[in-house]
Structure formats: C-alpha cells, structure tokens
C-alpha cells in the first residue's frame, strides 16, 4: 500500500460528499481518472480506509459472470475499495463432465495465455465506478501444489494489471518460502493471510509464524485477519503496535477466542473499536477490509451495511 494517509486526506476533500453510499450507480459514465481517485475515498472514514472482502456476499456466487452484480453491491454498500478474489476474474472450468484435474489444467493454460487486455478491461469496470482494487486474492495454497514459476508470475502480472498493490493468499510457511522472490519482480507485495489453525506448525496463525514468514522477503506483508488471529488467542493490538510497518491491511471481523465461532461485530473477542481507533490515531495507511463469516438471515448487502455502520460509529 503506497498511498500515504496524507494522500488519503487530500482525496477525501473531493470525495466525502459521496460517502452516503447507496446509489452511486449513476456515476458510471464519469471519467475514470476522477472517479478512480474518488473511489477509495467513498469509504474513507475519519482517516481509516475501508474496503470489502466480497466473500461476504455469501448469497452471490463468486463467478466472473456475477462481477457486474458484485460491483453493484459494493456501490450499494458505499465501498470504494475491494480485495478482489480470482474467481470473480477467471473463467470457471469446473463444469459437469470435466474432472478436477482437467479443470486445473485448463485454468493453468488460460492463465498462461490470457492477454493483458482481459485484465485491463476488468480494471476499467472498477475504475469507471470508482472502486479501487487494492489487492488480488489468489488461492496460492492449492495452486502451489502444482504451479510452475510461470503460472505464479502470471498471477502477479494479473494482479498488477488489475491495478492491485499486492497479491494476497492464505498461506502456509512452506508456501510463503517458495513465493519469496516473486512479488519484488512485479513491484508488488505479497500479503500473507493467517488462519486460526493452532496445531499445524506449517500454518500461519500466531505472531511467531508471522514473524518467521515476513522474514522470508522484504516484499511480504501481513494481511492480519483479526477474526482468525483472535480465535488463535492472538493479541491484535500488540501485533499492530509491533508490526504495523509490515501490515498491508487488516481483515476486519469478529470471532471468539479459543477457536471460537464467528460473531456479529461487537459480540466476539476482537477489539474492533480499539483496532480502528489505533489505525486512525496513528495515521497508519492500513486499510480495514471488512469480512465476515457469521451466520445471518439477512442479505449480504444488509449485513455488510450493519458492519460498516458499526465501524462508522466506532470512529464517530
């Protein structure tokens, strides 16, 4: 993330009036240049940049065909930033009659051969409505088992062409080690995303495992998933104090300690208000990417709005 808080601030001056959220759909024909900068500002609250991990729209299957709906929903929630996951971008080869192995091979070939224009067109979709693709989330865990260097390079190129500052993946230490040299080649960072797994020594879950993984490459950054870190009994505030310069973003959600369940914001053990105020008070350029996995009878858009409103109240 290279945008400093000062830049955030400048952008905010022009963009705050659009922070109301809903119905920015009409602005699609505005010029890409203005709206792209205004985009992140749409969800810049008291100096804290918010974005969404669109996995939250659990009621919207992740496919490239659904990308227009995704964009509509992001705008409905007033989001100016997104962590885009590869299924929203890539074709789905896992169709009836195709074995998993065949589908994997087709995806590999597609990645190696797709022209940059493909990604540029997608970038433009987001630019046109003023949404910043902050990071490109790729399933390195699965891919690495059978990925060539060429395919990993293709993924980073894809992220870069989409306008992302970095790629992100849920990570094992062994996988991180193999990826050490890649992000630098592409002028990007690799965001390491933790899980709650406490038992596997190869898992990225504790502060110690983060320290180890971050040492593999100066281009590695932590994507601190607050939910999983809390479930693994981690100290989020202490982690941010000690490692904020290496933190690309936080995935903001609530969960209970001791491998507990995910909860609506404020009902678990994640110190959400403190985290947001810490980012604000220290003027850190660490976007808060909202993500949830708790159950709800509401639509994804409704639930995201409740959480975003919670964050706004926290910083009010």
């Amino acid at each position: 993330m290279n945008v400093t808080r000062r830049e955030f601030g400048k952008l905010a001056l022009g963009g705050l009036s659009s922070a109301v959220g809903i119905s920015s759909l009409g602005s699609r024909d505005a010029s890409a240049a203005t709206t792209a900068t205004a985009g992140a500002n749409r969800s810049l609250i008291e100096g804290v940049q918010f974005g969404l991990q669109p996995y939250c729209y659990h009621d919207l299957p992740m496919t490239r065909e659904n990308r227009p709906l995704l964009i509509e929903r992001l705008l409905a929630n007033g989001m100016g930033m997104v962590e885009l996951m590869s299924p929203w971008v890539e074709p789905n080869f896992r169709t009836p009659g195709v074995t998993p192995e065949q589908a994997r091979e087709k995806l590999r070939q597609w990645r190696l051969n797709v022209a940059p224009d493909y990604y540029l067109a997608i970038k433009k979709e987001f630019d046109d409505v003023g949404i910043t693709v902050f990071t490109y989330y790729v399933d390195f865990r699965t891919s690495l088992r059978d990925s060539s260097d060429a395919e990993v390079d293709a993924l980073f190129r894809a992220g870069q062409t989409l306008g992302a500052k970095g790629c992100v993946g849920s990570m094992w230490l062994s996988a991180a080690q193999r990826l050490a040299s890649f992000p630098g080649k592409h002028g990007m960072f690799l965001g390491l995303h933790n899980h709650a797994n406490l038992s596997d020594p190869d898992a990225l879950s504790s502060e110690e495992s983060f320290i180890k993984a971050l040492s593999y490459s100066p281009d590695f950054k932590a994507v601190l998933d607050v939910r999983h870190f809390v479930a693994a009994n981690g100290d989020c505030l202490g982690f941010l104090e000690r490692h904020h310069s290496r933190v690309a973003s936080v995935h903001l959600g609530d969960r209970r300690r001791n491998n507990g369940r995910s909860t609506p914001f404020g009902e678990g053990d994640a110190p959400l208000i403190e985290i947001l105020r810490m980012i604000r008070d220290n003027q850190w350029s660490i976007p808060a990417i909202i993500e949830f996995e708790h159950g709800t009878l509401r639509s994804g858009v409704e639930e995201v709005q409740l959480m975003f409103d919670y964050c706004k109240r926290a910083l009010a």
């Binding site: 991990q53 038992s199 507990g260 159950g295 009878l297």
Partner: protein
C-alpha cells in the same frame, strides 16, 4: 475463509436449491410470516410449512453452520459433507452433533478445522440437529427415488430387516404376504415414504408418544442412512415374502 473451488461449489448449491424448488419466486416481503424482518428468502428458500423445522434451519444458518456446510448441506470448500456423514447418521436429537458442535473439530487431511460453539443453548443444538436430519432426509429421498432399481440381494435384505426393521415389523404378521400385495416399485415407494405415516405432525398430548410419531421418527432415521443397495436388498427380501 475457505475458498477452494468455492465458486463452482456455490454454483452447485444455487443449482441444487433451484432444482429443489426452494428458490423463492417472490421476495421475502411477500410472505406474511416474514413481514418486518430481514429474511433473505432468495438465498435461504421460502419459509417452510413446519415452523419447528424452519426454526431449526434458521438456527443452523444464524449459528453460522451454513457458511461452510451449506444451507442445504452441500458443503462449501473444505467442510464435512453432512449429507453423507455417518457421524450425523448416528445422531439422535443432537446427542452426537451436540458435543461436536460444542467442542469444535480439529483439522484433518481433507477438512478445515471447525470452530467451537460452546455457547449455544441445548435447544439451539436440538434445533440445528432437527434441520440437518430433515435436510438429509429430503436429500436422500430425492436421490433414492431417482436411483435405478437394481435387482437386490434378498439375503442381505433379510439381514438388514432383522437389524433395522424387526423391532416393529414382521413378515409373519403385519407384512405377511407383502410381496403379493405390492410389486417392486410400490414396495420401494412404501419403504422410502410409508403411506401409513402421513407427514402431519401434531403436539396433541395423546400423539406425542404414539406409535405413528415414533414410526415417523424411526423411518426418518432409516431414510437418511439408507444406501441404494439397502433399499434394493430390502425390496428383494420383501418381495420374497409371499
């Protein structure tokens, strides 16, 4: 987050929901029983007739089970397939599901770890189990009805009958000459959904513990655990009861 093939799996889920006829054609607001609350009928399906099962479904969703195991038990990513889990098949009113849900489950080679839900109430566990069993029965019924009726092994059917059916039935008494009364197809249909056990549930005091209630419960438990072979074998055995 579990994202492994989540796109294709989710697609599958949506397909299945659609084919089960659970996809609401009208919005949630059109249903008076959901008026005034945020109920995402498009995703969750319309409110079911049986409020106890609907409550179980909602408890299952709100607790967060659906996020990994799927609303209708089609797992997303690296979660256990509740539709085919023998552990779930052995559950009676939450007695197996409850402890697992309360304690969580460690990671295995193929599955992600499951969080612990130690704070759920006993009734919440029972409600969750109720939905899981109902969804399993619905799913298994559709599957078995659609399966081709292969010739079964009457001897294996007799063993199964002795093990699972003989506490209530006998080919000497209530099912005597059943092979003459019904052909294969009708026998099959009766095994999967006995006419004698209509679906109407009641909390009338004199029905709470009556034979029909217990029979319905028992047949439900059998249904969700039948293999295709079990059914074919049973049919062949019962056909031989002449």
């Amino acid at each position: 987050m579990k994202r492994t093939n989540a796109d294709s799996l989710r697609r599958l889920v949506l397909c299945c929901i659609g084919s089960l006829g659970l996809l609401a054609t009208s919005g949630a607001g059109a249903d008076p029983s959901t008026a005034g609350r945020s109920y995402n009928a498009e995703f969750l399906g319309p409110v079911l007739d049986d409020s106890l099962i609907q409550h179980g479904k909602e408890t299952y969703v709100v607790a967060g089970c659906a996020y990994c195991h799927g609303v209708n038990l089609q797992p997303l990513g690296e979660a256990a397939d509740l539709m085919r889990s023998p552990m779930v098949g052995a559950d009676d009113n939450g007695n197996v599901i409850g402890p697992v849900v309360r304690a969580g489950f460690p990671q295995t080679l193929s599955l992600s770890p499951m969080p612990q839900y130690s704070d759920l109430s006993e009734q919440q566990i029972i409600a969750i189990a109720r939905w899981i069993h109902y969804a399993r029965q619905q799913g298994r019924y559709k599957e078995l009805v659609a399966a081709p009726d292969r010739r079964g092994d009457a001897a294996a059917g007799r063993d199964y009958f002795a093990r699972a059916c003989s506490a209530c039935h006998s080919t000497e008494r209530d099912l005597a000459r059943i092979g003459r009364t019904y052909d294969r197809q009708k026998l099959r249909a009766q095994i999967l959904a006995p006419d004698a056990l209509n679906r109407q549930t009641s909390f009338k005091v004199d029905r709470r513990g009556d034979a029909k209630s217990l029979g319905r419960q028992r047949h439900g438990a059998l249904l969700e655990n039948y293999s295709k072979e079990d059914v074919s074998n049973l049919v062949s055995y019962l056909q031989s009861a002449r």
